[in-house]
């Protein structure tokens, strides 16, 4: 059994130690907002926070996470879709198919946590997740909108 703290709840899960965190989150814990895209940390659809750091969970064995580490998935980002990024995403109608967007939002949330007023250069340097629908410009605009709202 593996013990994990996800979105503030401790989960005891039956998984082999080399199982990627992504699949434990999706299958054993049952939170499917975190997506499988590539399995090799290329696309970022599986991005979650581990102690506040954006992490590609498809390539992180569950054995590398301690029970004390705080894992946050998209379901735990805000209780009611009220994170400034979620509001900005809604305001600018960012998603198309939407499959990558939960990973994009998690990557952006970690960025804003570390850098509340990112420049365009900061944003493109940090936001390396793939969006096949091509929503990049709206993602960038939404991050800037959320940052400006944060500054109030």
């Amino acid at each position: 059994m593996v013990s994990l703290t996800i979105n503030g709840t401790v989960h005891q899960v039956d998984a082999e130690p080399d199982t990627p965190l992504l699949w434990v989150i999706r299958e054993q814990v049952g939170l499917t907002g975190t997506k499988y895209g590539c399995g090799v940390a290329q696309c970022g659809a599986c991005t979650v926070h581990v102690d506040g750091v954006a992490t590609r969970s498809c390539s992180l064995p569950v054995s590398a996470v301690t029970p004390e580490q705080k894992i946050v998935t998209i379901e735990g980002l805000s209780p009611d879709t009220s994170h400034p990024l979620q509001k900005a995403w809604l305001e600018l109608d960012v998603p198309q198919c939407g499959y990558c967007q939960t990973g994009q939002i998690m990557a952006a949330a970690a960025l804003l946590q570390a850098n509340p007023s990112p420049s365009d250069e900061d944003i493109v340097a940090e936001m390396t997740n793939i969006c096949r629908c091509g929503t990049y410009n709206r993602i960038k605009a939404a991050i800037k909108l959320a940052a400006s709202e944060n500054r109030g």
């Binding site: 082999e16 895209g37 998603p95 493109v124 997740n129």
Partner: protein, 724 residues
């Protein structure tokens, strides 16, 4: 939108019964297969109104990011005169559609057809429902319907001032006969359609609650991972199940058809882990020696072949070229591309000897149903497909339902247990239905004044129809090969008037499964023609815009979008230091598109695409905001192909297995995109694809302006862009 019907028939019946206090205008709850078969089609299959005033618009086409659910709901709501804030959408199943004589029309969502091929019947559905709701209110009041008006779902009897809402009269309205004729609004009077409304399906995509096909959960469900023979046309020779049967979670190892093997386990990760450990022997079959080099030779031969199918012809092109003051020649190519949807192929199937149900993401649920019927061995009335949200489609989920066939075959081995099959990214890359490979030999004839007097465009390469739907060929000819190059029609007409013209196709079909890939054959046709027009203009010492304008004189809509991007893009005015511009125009899927690209190329050969100005005339613009989003996205898709996209073959197998070797454009390479939506109003064109056509040629022409180098085939990762 509300979730699609990701419920079993049983729970669907329960849910429908619970909602039965409201009305299903034209929607009868299916009780049994036999009862379904007796149900007659009703005009108002589109509209349901619940007692809480929620308006449910039921839609045959599928949402995959392109905004079609929102756009089609806008068109219905416009005619229905309901409160837009109360509108939601649902998918009927293909089983229901079949049982009701296809009352919801064609489910296929491809070719940018969502709105342009369904607007008429859906608007009529909305208008008919409005008339029935008003009639029901008028009947209740005992007044003529003509004395009643409606706005935002509230019906008013003008003289008495009485009002009642749609939700209150819905049940009575459902019992009325559908009107024979309905009058549709003039689009200039639209208040919901034509407006840049927000999408209906965004909120669920921001918090993880949106359920995609890959997220489906069924009671008692198991998971399957699969490997098919990596060589196209190869077979499964043997596998040693005993080696993995004791691994954690493993339930069963099954052969799937004659070319694949799957492991079924409690979780997908355990299934995949066991599959990776499973000893498998393949028989590569006749294509085991196939390579990109051998395919290239096949196509090169086609460029010179005597025999070719004709797509467009005028005058005497041979004589024009022979008598040219200047002859211009160039060879172009367009490599295989992969759809690479973010959500890999997957499907969940439940099979018993009485019923087969499939939960999946599909661009054509009726084709998915047909696949399930064949694979299940059950009659169609015992099968159904529940449509789930798509994590991307781009044509892949319209071309083939191989993943559905596999899921059903696996489920057949586990009667009564739902099984979810997920392809790994590697499996997805190796078993695509690829954008076909082609090359083109372009020969142009210029007279002494630099006028284009003749053009021969010889396309050599793969036909999609020959691979996907050979019945669609016309005496062996694939008409879709000539997308955007046709002499006449409403779909994709060549805009240039060239007195001596020959466009022909030497069909060469390598044994690689081809597929419809966003933009389809327009992609390479626009690249070949628009880059060569640029070459011709320079050979004639003419400005590329002026050169095109003269040839587009008979096609004002083509010309108008080109002029629009030239003006907004600043063509003919100084660009910023080091920045160069390129143009392209094309017509496809009923829409006229053009782009002006701005690029710079550093001394080190590093390309930066700064800005794209793109125009579309799609006739009617149902949601300009969503059209702008499609334009933006089409450049990411088209420029990804130009920058990186190339599927290569070695030993009969695709060499690119994941995003590390098949790269995608990311945010740092995405240009600014300024869209010009300029609907001219007398036709309905598509919007999901068309602007992709001009992405690559506009950028390639700008690269020539910047460097003096003609790049005639992607991907640019192979090109040296340093100035000569």
């Amino acid at each position: 939108m509300t979730a699609a019907l990701d419920v079993s028939r049983r729970s669907f019946l329960v849910g429908s019964a619970a909602a039965a206090g409201g009305l299903a205008l034209g929607f009868n709850v299916p009780l049994t297969g036999e009862a379904l078969a007796q149900t007659t089609p009703e005009i108002n299959a589109w509209v349901m109104v619940r007692p809480d005033e929620t308006v449910v618009v039921r839609i045959g086409r599928v949402e995959m990011g392109q905004g079609t659910l929102t756009g089609l709901a806008q068109l219905v709501a416009e005619e229905l005169e309901c409160d837009w804030s109360k509108v939601t959408t649902e998918y009927p199943t293909p089983g229901q559609n079949v049982a009701r004589s296809r009352v919801w029309g064609n489910f296929q969502t491809a070719g940018s057809r969502g709105v342009r091929d369904s607007h008429d019947y859906m608007r009529k559905g909305g208008a008919a429902a409005r008339q029935m709701l008003i009639q029901a209110a008028a009947n209740g009041w005992g007044v003529p319907a003509g004395e009643c008006t409606v706005a935002k779902g509230v019906i008013t009897h003008s003289s008495s001032g009485r009002t009642i809402t749609y939700g209150k009269v819905a049940e009575a309205a459902s019992k009325l006969e559908a009107p024979k004729d309905v009058q549709l609004k003039d689009p200039k009077d639209w208040t919901i359609a034509g407006k840049p409304l927000k999408r209906l399906d965004t909120a669920e995509k921001l918090n993880g609650s949106q359920i995609y096909s890959i997220d489906v959960k069924r009671p008692g469900m198991l998971n399957a991972a699969i490997k098919a023979c990596p060589v196209f046309g190869g077979k499964l020779k043997s596998f040693d199940a005993a080696q993995v049967q004791g691994m954690p979670g493993v339930k069963k190892v099954v052969a799937v058809g004659d070319n694949a093997v799957a492991v079924v386990a409690d979780t997908w990760w355990r299934a995949k882990t066991a599959l990776d450990a499973l000893p498998i022997e393949w028989d590569g079959g006749p294509n085991a020696a196939l390579s990109s080099e051998s395919i290239d030779q096949m196509l090169k031969e086609g460029l010179k072949a005597e025999q070719a199918f004709v797509g467009n012809q005028a005058g005497d092109v041979k004589a024009a070229i022979a008598g040219a003051a200047k002859k211009v020649e160039a060879e172009y190519g367009f490599p295989y591309q992969h759809h690479a949807t973010m959500e890999p192929m997957n499907a969940t199937a439940l099979w018993t000897n009485e019923r087969c149900e499939v939960w999946t993401a599909t661009q054509n649920a009726e084709a998915a149903l047909a696949t399930a019927v064949t694979a299940s061995g059950l009659p169609i009335e015992k099968c159904d497909v529940y449509r789930q949200n798509l994590g991307g489609g781009f044509g892949r989920r319209a071309t083939s339902h191989d993943y559905v066939r596999q899921a059903v075959l696996i489920a057949k081995e586990m009667p009564g247990t739902p099984v979810k099959l997920i392809w790994s990214r590697e499996e997805d890359m190796l078993h695509g239905h690829y954008h076909p490979i082609t090359q083109a030999k372009m020969v142009g004839a210029l007279d002494a004044d630099g006028n284009l007097t003749g053009l021969h465009m010889r396309i050599s390469g793969q036909s999609i129809l020959a691979g996907v739907n050979p019945q669609g060929l016309q005496n062996g000819r694939d008409p879709a090969t000539f997308q955007g190059l046709n002499p006449t029609g409403t779909e994709g007409v060549l805009g240039y008037t060239i007195p001596n013209l020959l466009v022909d196709h030497a069909m060469r079909n390598p044994p690689i499964p081809p597929g419809f890939w966003r933009g389809v054959n327009n992609n390479q046709n626009a690249l070949y023609l628009e880059c060569f027009m640029d070459e011709l203009a320079h050979a004639a010492s003419k400005d590329p815009l002026e050169f095109r304008r003269k040839l587009l004189v008979n096609h004002p809509k083509h010309l108008a979008v080109l002029n629009a991007v030239a003006e907004k893009g600043g063509w003919g005015t100084p660009a910023p230091q080091g920045v160069y511009r390129g143009l392209a125009q094309h017509m496809g899927y009923g829409s006229y598109v053009a782009a002006c690209a701005e690029v710079s190329v550093g001394d080190n050969g590093v390309l930066k695409i700064h800005r794209i100005v793109a125009a579309t005339d799609c006739g009617h613009a149902v949601n300009p905001q969503q059209i702008a989003a499609q334009i933006e996205g089409s450049f990411a898709y088209g420029l990804t192909a130009l920058l990186y996209g190339e599927i290569t073959l070695k030993d009969g197998k695709v060499e690119q297995e994941n995003f590390d070797s098949y790269q995608m454009m990311r945010m740092d390479e995405m240009p600014e995109v300024e869209s010009i939506v300029m609907p001219s109003g007398d036709f309905w064109g598509g919007v999901g694809e068309p602007t992709i056509f001009v992405a690559a040629p506009a950028v390639l022409n700008a690269i020539f302006a910047a460097t003096g180098k003609r790049i005639r085939s992607g991907p640019l990762t192979k090109a040296d862009l340093r100035r000569a």
